[in-house]
Amino acid sequence: MATVANYANIFVRYDLIGAGEAKGARVSSKDAALQKVLQCVIEGDVDNIETVVVEALESKDPMTIINDGLIKGMNEVSRLWDEGVYYLPQAIVASDAMLTGIEICEEKLGKAIEKKGTVVTHTAEGDIHDLGQKIVNALLRANGYEVIDLGKDVPVDDVVAAVKKHQPVMVTGTALMTTTMTAFERISKRLSKDGFTLPFVCGGGAVSLEYVTGFELGVYGKDASQASGMANDAVNGMSWGQLREKWNS
C-alpha cells in the first residue's frame, strides 16, 4: 500500500511550534545553602528536600529559608508552568517539596506560619473521583492557603457545616458527573440562606459554566490551576459576583 509523503494536509503539529525555545529557571541565591533549597523545590526533589532544609537551618533562620528558599522556589516553578516550560507534575512535586520544607521550618519556629486564608474543598456526594480536588488542594497549599480537605462523596450538610466552622475565604466543589453536581446548587442555597456570601468555585468533569453561573455564589472553575488566583482575589476582597465577572466572562 502507498505511504503518506506529507502529513501537513492531514494534521499540523501545533505542539512543535515554539517548542525548545523555553528558558530554564531564572532565580538563584548567592547563599549556597539557600541555593540548594531553591534547587530542590524547582526540581521537585522530594528525596533531598529534608536534608537541604535541615542543613540550611544551621546557618539561617526558618523564615528566611521559607521566604527566600521555599516560597521563592515555588514562585519560580509557577512562572515556568505558566510559560509552558513546566507541566503540572513539576508544579505538584515542587509543591510537595516546598510543603515538606515548610513543615520542618515550622517545627523549628515552634508554630505554623501565617496562611493567606482558609479554603474548604470537597468532591460531591456520590462522586469518588477526587483527583481534581487533590490537585486543587496541592496548588492552594503551594500558594500559602490553609486547605480544609473534606475529601470525596461529601454530603451537603457536611460542606455547609465546614463553612460555618472554618469561615473560609472560598469553598470549592468538584464533580465528575452531572448527576452528582446537582448537590452544588443545594449547597449554594443553604449557604445563601445562612447569609454567607463567599465564592463557591465549582469545576471538574461534566460541570459547565452554564450550570455553575445558574445559582448564587457559583463561580465556574475551568481548570485546577485557576484555584489560587481565585483565592487571591477572594482574599483581596472581591465578591463572588466580581470573581464570576473576572473569571467566567
Binding site: 500500500m1 502507498a2 505511504t3 503518506v4 509523503a5 506529507n6 502529513y7 501537513a8 494536509n9 492531514i10 494534521f11 499540523v12 503539529r13 501545533y14 511550534i17 468533569g205 461534566a206 459547565s208 459554566l209 452554564e210 450550570y211
Partner: protein
C-alpha cells in the same frame, strides 16, 4: 438567461472531494478545491444574545475562540467559519460588519501565532417577503445589500446568501405535491430572482475585492427534503423532494452565471450537480450536520465536497467542551480521513464507500451520487434555452434515473407520487413563455400576494 452549455468535467469519474477545476483562494492562506478538504464550522448564537450588538459580538467572539482553540488543540490545518446571519445581523448592517471584523481579528491572531489557515464566509439573511413587498425595491433588500458591504469591509472573505425568490409559490405547491408549481417557483421565479440578486452581490464583492461565494435552494428544495424527512415521515414524498432537488440545481447555477466563484453554500445539496457543470469548489454537509437536521445521505453527500460543514450548531456546553468545539473536532477528523485518502492515493475508493453507504438508502442520495448528478448536469446544459427548459429537463432526467434503476426500491405511494409528477412534467408546454402564462393564471388566483412583477414579469 442560462449560460452554461458544457460540463466542467469529462465524466463523473473525474469528480472527487478536495479538488475542483476552479479552486478559490482567500483569507489566511486558505484555498478551497486545491487538493484538500477543509472543515467549515457554522456556529449559532444562543437565544437572548441577539438582544444587543454588544452581547451578540461577544457571543461570536467566544464561539470563534472555541473553534480556533480546538483546531490548534488537535491539529486541524485550516478552517472556514461561516457567519450565517441571524435576522438581527442583517437588519442592522453594522452588526454583521462588526462580527465579521471580530472574527477576522481572532483568525489573524491564530494565523500569526500558529499558522492556522482560515477564512470567513458571511451569509446574509434574505428576509424579503415576496408576497408582501416589492422585493426588487424594499427596505429589506436595502439592508441586505448594505450588510454585504459591511461584511466585506469588516473582513468576510466570501459573500453568500440563501435567496428566497419564488418561495411564496413553492411553499404553496410543495405541500400540495404540485410539481408544476414547484417547477415554476424554483426553476423560473427562483432563477430570475437570483439573476437580479447576484448581479448586485458580485458587484459588491468586486468592489471590496472579496469572493462572491454562492447561493443555495435552502428555502425551497431543503424545505421539501426536510419535510420528506426520514423513512417514517409522511409529509412530502421523498421522490417529490428528489425532483425538487434536481430543479434546484438549475436554479442555484444562476449565481455562477452571474459571476459567483464558490465555494458554494453547505446546505446546497444540489451543488454536486453544479460542480459537475461549473468546476467551482463546493461546501457540503452530511452526517456531521445531524446537529442541525437529519438526512438520508450522510456519507454520500461528501463524495465531491471541498468544504465539509455542520450546517448550524447552537452554542452550548457538552461534556467534551462547547458544541462549536465538539463539531469542529468531528468535522476535523472527517476531513482528516478524506485528506489521508488523498495522500494515500485511495480517494476514489473512499468516495465509492461514501456512495455505496447511501446511494440506495433513499432517492435523494440516489440522484446526487456523482454519476447521476453528472447526468442531471448534462440534461441541464443540453437544455439551456431557458431557465424553465433546463429546470424541467433536470427534473425529468432525475425522475427517469430513479425509475430505471432496479436497485432503487420505493414504497408504492412514493412510486405513485413520482410517476404522477413525471406525467405532469412531460405534459408541460415546451416554451417558457407558455409555461409562465399558464402558471401565472393559476397561481395568481391561489396564492395571496403573489406578484409577477417581483420577477420582472
Amino acid at each position: 438567461m442560462p449560460r452554461y452549455d458544457q460540463m466542467a468535467y469529462a465524466s463523473a469519474a473525474e469528480m472527487i472531494f478536495g479538488t475542483a477545476k476552479n479552486p478559490v483562494s482567500y483569507g489566511r492562506d486558505f484555498t478551497v478545491g486545491g487538493g484538500y478538504v477543509y472543515p467549515e464550522l457554522v456556529p449559532h448564537p444562543r437565544p437572548g444574545t441577539e438582544s444587543t450588538k454588544q452581547t451578540l459580538v461577544k457571543e461570536y467572539e467566544k464561539m470563534v475562540t472555541d473553534v480556533l482553540d480546538r483546531c490548534v488543540a488537535i491539529g486541524i490545518p485550516g478552517i472556514q467559519i461561516e457567519l450565517e446571519h441571524v435576522y438581527q445581523m442583517t437588519k442592522n448592517p453594522e452588526w454583521g460588519g462588526e462580527i465579521a471584523a471580530a472574527t477576522k481579528r481572532l483568525q489573524d491572531d491564530y494565523f500569526r501565532k500558529y499558522g492556522l489557515k482560515s477564512a470567513i464566509r458571511a451569509t446574509v439573511a434574505d428576509y424579503r417577503k415576496p408576497d408582501e413587498e416589492d422585493i426588487r425595491n424594499s427596505l429589506a433588500l436595502d439592508a441586505i445589500l448594505k450588510t454585504f458591504q459591511a461584511s466585506a469591509a469588516g473582513g468576510a472573505d466570501n459573500l453568500s446568501i440563501e435567496s428566497v425568490g419564488g418561495k411564496e409559490v413553492s411553499d404553496y405547491t410543495i405541500v400540495r405535491q404540485d410539481i408544476r408549481g414547484t417547477l415554476f417557483g424554483i426553476g423560473v421565479l427562483g432563477s430570475r430572482d437570483m439573476e437580479f440578486m447576484w448581479k448586485q452581490v458580485v458587484d459588491i464583492a468586486n468592489k471590496y475585492n472579496v469572493t462572491p461565494g454562492g447561493d443555495t435552494n435552502c428555502a425551497q428544495a431543503n424545505v421539501a427534503m426536510f419535510m420528506a424527512g426520514g423513512y417514517q415521515d409522511r409529509s412530502v414524498p421523498h421522490t417529490f423532494a428528489a425532483l425538487t432537488r434536481a430543479i434546484a440545481a438549475a436554479r442555484s447555477l444562476v449565481a455562477y452565471e452571474q459571476g459567483a466563484k464558490g465555494p458554494s453554500k453547505d446546505c446546497g445539496y444540489e451543488d454536486v450537480i453544479i460542480k459537475a457543470i461549473t468546476g467551482i469548489p463546493i461546501a457540503m454537509e452530511g452526517k456531521t450536520c445531524a446537529c442541525a437536521h437529519s438526512d438520508l445521505l450522510g456519507n454520500l453527500v461528501g463524495a465531491c465536497c471541498d468544504l465539509w460543514s455542520n450546517e448550524a450548531v447552537e452554542y452550548h456546553d457538552m461534556f467534551g467542551g462547547t458544541t462549536v468545539a465538539v463539531f469542529t473536532e468531528i468535522l476535523g477528523y472527517d476531513v482528516a480521513l478524506m485528506n489521508a485518502a488523498i495522500e494515500l492515493g485511495t480517494a476514489p475508493m473512499l468516495q465509492e464507500m461514501m456512495v455505496q453507504s447511501d446511494k440506495y438508502r433513499d432517492t435523494h442520495g440516489f440522484i446526487l451520487c456523482p454519476e447521476n448528478a453528472y447526468e442531471i448536469g448534462k440534461a441541464i446544459i443540453s437544455n439551456n434555452t431557458s431557465y424553465y427548459a433546463r429546470s424541467r429537463a433536470a427534473a425529468i432526467k432525475a425522475g427517469r434515473l430513479m425509475l430505471e434503476d432496479s436497485k432503487l426500491q420505493m414504497p408504492a405511494f412514493e412510486k405513485d407520487a413520482l410517476e404522477s409528477a413525471m406525467r405532469t412534467l412531460e405534459s408541460l408546454p415546451d416554451k417558457e413563455e407558455d409555461f409562465i402564462s399558464e402558471c401565472a393564471d393559476i397561481y395568481k388566483k391561489l396564492i395571496p400576494g403573489f406578484n409577477l412583477a417581483n420577477y420582472g414579469l
